[in-house]
Symmetry: C2
Subunit: 188 residues, 2 copies
């Protein structure tokens, strides 16, 4: 079952994603999610603060993975290279479960409140990466710009990965997006 | 009085900004805003949908200004140049009232809900600029990346403008931010 393991948390997550897809995030209640998973609401709240958390609980882990990879990138790497090293590591996080990532993406894009939440998470990721770069000795201004570029590359690569057929892997999409961003900025 | 004119809308806006600064956005009620402005709540709701709208009513105008400048930039300008042309025009919108812009900025940064709203507005701006670029014949991928770069430049320049002493004007800060973004991306 991969990431959809038979444990309570995974069953709840799977039930929630199915119901959000079928009926919309707004319309789905915690009672319905728990019922579909064959569990109680009490069990749901032992695993998730609320029904939104089901979709965002991974964001902290993903951010830690990326920031730690940025900070541990070889000292010889430029700020942007270190950021790309961080983004490549992120691929391992969701590349194993493309269907789950695609489902989550569709749910979030159908709801403005969830989209706003996703933007906040991406902004927090950018700020954390900028901090990580500063700890590598990168001046604040360059750290901020490299981190923001990283967020742009991440979003671009992720959208392509979601829309793609699996022909190109995450790392290729990250490099391709960075390459295009560089070309766009270098023009004129 | 500049942008703080004596009309009802301006008095409400001024009263709201003062109260948000003094007591925080959350703690301020529409009744208090109206009272401070010497007007009724009914008048408030004739001008603003809610107390959040006081802070964001200008976002639509600003977006229109930027997108229209992007679309009307000389055909010879590269996507990024057209975006910069758009951002330069934006300066006219807030450069005349730096105190108001600074106050608004401080209010928004003190409240996560308002920050999320600001991020949504910036994402909408990016999407609208990307659309504008596509109407200039720029392919979708390059349009998206140029627009996202524009948002990064806008945020960077705006933060510097807010923090600055007025020594550098908006246009200089936009060019300086773009120049640094290019340098960061070109490295490595």
């Amino acid at each position: 079952m991969g990431r959809w393991g038979p444990d309570a948390r995974s069953r709840l997550e799977r039930a929630a994603m199915e119901l959000y897809t079928l009926h919309g995030f707004e319309q789905t209640t915690v009672a319905e999610i728990s019922g579909r998973a064959g569990l109680t609401e009490r069990t749901f709240f032992r695993h998730f603060a609320d029904k939104r958390e089901v979709l965002f609980r991974g964001a902290g882990t993903l951010q830690e993975l990326i920031v730690s990879a940025v900070m541990n990138a070889p000292a010889s790497e430029s700020p942007v290279q270190a950021v790309v090293t961080g983004l490549e590591v992120a691929g391992a996080y969701f590349q194993g479960s493309p269907e789950r990532a695609r489902t989550r993406w569709n749910i979030i894009n159908a709801n403005p409140e969830l989209q706003a939440r996703e933007l906040s998470k991406l902004a927090a990721l950018g700020a954390a990466v900028a901090d990580g770069l500063q700890q590598r000795g990168v001046p604040a201004a360059a750290a901020g710009l490299a981190a923001e570029s990283g967020v742009v590359v991440f979003r671009t690569a992720f959208e392509r990965w979601i829309a793609g057929t699996g022909e190109k892997d995450w790392s290729q999409l990250v490099h391709e997006s960075l390459c295009e961003l560089r070309a766009v900025l270098a023009a004129g």
